[in-house]
């Protein structure tokens, strides 16, 4: 029973991280119908920037703020400079561009920071909470991760649902042409969408960093699981990203704990296939056609 509790808590933490990455992918997919394969490279770069801040004596919190801000800027710049020219072209063009950017960013990071993995400090203690004489697989830092991801979800939900910026962004995503007729500067909304998504990604990078090492390729596995979570959730829906992320985190934690850690990737594949067999558009996916 205690083991089950441990696995559940550990799954919750990693699920929160997958959900954050999935959210970054979903935000971009919703607004531009592009899967941002460069997301891993982008959050790797911003995490390296945060690492640089810390290694120069900056605090964890300063590094966090710098990472999120640089993610925001990076996302906006990438949309303006690289994505805008391919937005109206066949989808494969955008796939090639984002893949190219991923390779470019990983190459750049290797040149600037080198290939040696660096360790990144956690915000809070990583020694598990005590339950009786048992130490749970859930530390104050894990609680922090879960709370931050939940907070970001709530914040974004509020922005999208209740602010005029959110209304304009939703309208641009659903009906770009009509939105322009109503005076919405749709191009600007796409830039903001990419910037927001990259900021969420940057946050996820800093949250992941203490549990792995910071290196040009260290985040690849997280991206694969984040992408899996996004597809499970429907690729279109922020709540889907949360449910997909936490669901996947839990499932993989049980697989790793009860079956073996070497079949985790296989477990992700099984979960993905099972969900898509029952619901081909993902848990929260919208139907293929848009009724007007």
């Amino acid at each position: 029973m205690l083991r089950f509790l441990d696995l559940t808590l550990a799954g919750l933490t990693s699920g929160a991280v997958y959900a954050a990455i999935a959210l970054a992918l979903v935000l971009i997919w919703r607004s531009t119908r592009i899967v941002n394969f460069a997301q891993g490279g982008m959050l790797m770069i911003t995490t390296f920037i945060a690492y640089t801040v810390i290694s120069h004596g900056g605090s964890y919190w300063l590094a966090l703020v710098v990472a999120v801000l640089s993610g925001f800027v990076l996302g906006g710049v990438v949309e303006r400079v690289l994505i805008r020219p391919v937005e109206k072209r066949p989808p494969l063009d955008a796939v090639v561009v984002t893949f190219g950017l991923l390779v470019l960013l990983q190459g750049l990071a290797g040149m600037i920071f080198g290939g040696t993995p660096r360790s990144y400090p956690p915000a809070f203690s990583i020694i598990g909470f005590r339950a009786g004489d048992h130490r749970l697989l859930f530390a104050p830092n894990d609680l922090w991760v879960v709370l931050v991801v939940c907070g970001v979800m709530v914040l974004l939900a509020v922005v999208f649902r209740w602010t005029s910026l959110g209304l304009r962004m939703r309208a641009s995503a659903f009906a770009p042409e009509v939105s322009r007729l109503l005076g919405v500067r749709v191009g600007r909304m796409l830039t903001v969408g990419w910037a927001l998504a990259a900021a969420v990604g940057a946050l996820a990078g800093v949250l992941i960093a203490p549990s792995t090492f910071v290196s040009p390729t260290a985040f690849d596995a997280f991206l694969v699981f984040g992408f899996t979570a996004a597809v499970i959730g429907g690729l279109d829906s922020p709540p889907g990203a949360l449910v997909g992320g936490v669901g996947l985190g839990l499932a993989l934690s049980y697989v790793s704990g009860y079956i073996g850690s070497d079949v985790v990737a296989l477990g992700a594949l099984v979960v993905l296939i099972a969900v898509l067999m029952v619901r081909p558009r993902g848990l929260f996916g919208s139907p293929v056609g848009r009724r007007v």
């Binding site: 005029s164 309208a171 007729l181 005076g183 500067r185 007007v292």
Partner: protein, 235 residues
């Protein structure tokens, strides 16, 4: 108010609009008539900036606005209600309305405007917090028009407002528009396949055929002209 000269537009190699001239007086209602494929919708799209014209010019109150983006033209008082209504079905009725007035950055209007629209189009009031996909065809048309009015336009471009609507609904909408014209001096440019309805409310009408303007006269005279009625209007 609106002066269009030599407007030419094309989709790829297909020329949909060929040197069309059009003059619209402030506060008037002008109908654009013609068969399917005559270029009526293209004319509206070229005026509202959704389609960049190949040649010709669009002048608004003396100012050249040819090829301006739609989001800029809205800020100059042009509002286009697209064909098929263009209501954003994922948003609620209230959100659709607010969206129409957002660019004005006028908090007071964002609060009072929707209430004013619910007075003009009472069927919408009961559904304000429902998603627009739950609306009937007539309600969607009302919402699309109301949403355009939220931008306080001086020139309203309407594409086939009667399409697929019951005659009674069409009559209600037309009555509201006429009242608005009388109250606020709104100028209307109306594309219609239903020539009878359009000619009964319009001051002037132009007839397009294969992208060219073939008639341009007062609505009364066009309605009385048997040759025009048979050749282009199917009356």
């Amino acid at each position: 108010m609106l002066d269009v000269t030599g407007l030419t537009a094309a989709y790829g190699p297909v020329r949909a609009l060929d040197g069309v001239d059009l003059h619209v007086e402030a506060g008037s209602i002008t109908a654009v008539l013609g068969a399917n494929g005559a270029g009526k919708t293209t004319l509206l799209r070229a005026i509202s900036g959704m389609l960049r014209p190949r040649a010709g010019s669009v002048r608004l109150a003396g100012r050249d606005v040819t090829g301006r983006a739609p989001e800029d033209l809205v800020r100059r008082g042009v509002s286009h209600v697209p064909e098929g209504r263009g209501v954003i079905v994922e948003l609620t009725v209230d959100e659709n309305l607010r969206l129409g007035g957002l660019w004005r950055r006028d908090r007071g209007w964002l609060r009072d405007g929707p209430a004013r629209m619910y007075e003009l189009f009472p069927p919408l009031a009961a559904r304000r917090s429902r998603r627009a996909e739950t609306l009937s065809g007539g309600e969607r048309q009302m919402l699309a028009i109301a949403r355009s009015l939220m931008s306080k336009p001086t020139l309203l471009l309407l594409d086939e407002p009667s399409l697929g609507l019951a005659p009674r609904t069409t009559a209600e909408i037309v009555a509201t528009l006429l009242q608005l014209r009388d109250d606020t001096g709104l100028t209307l440019l109306l594309v219609e396949q239903n020539a009878q309805t359009a000619l009964s409310v319009a001051d002037r009408a132009v007839v397009l055929n294969l992208g060219r303007k073939v008639e341009d006269d007062t609505a009364d005279r066009l309605a009385a002209d048997d040759r025009v009625r048979h050749a282009y209007l199917g009356l």
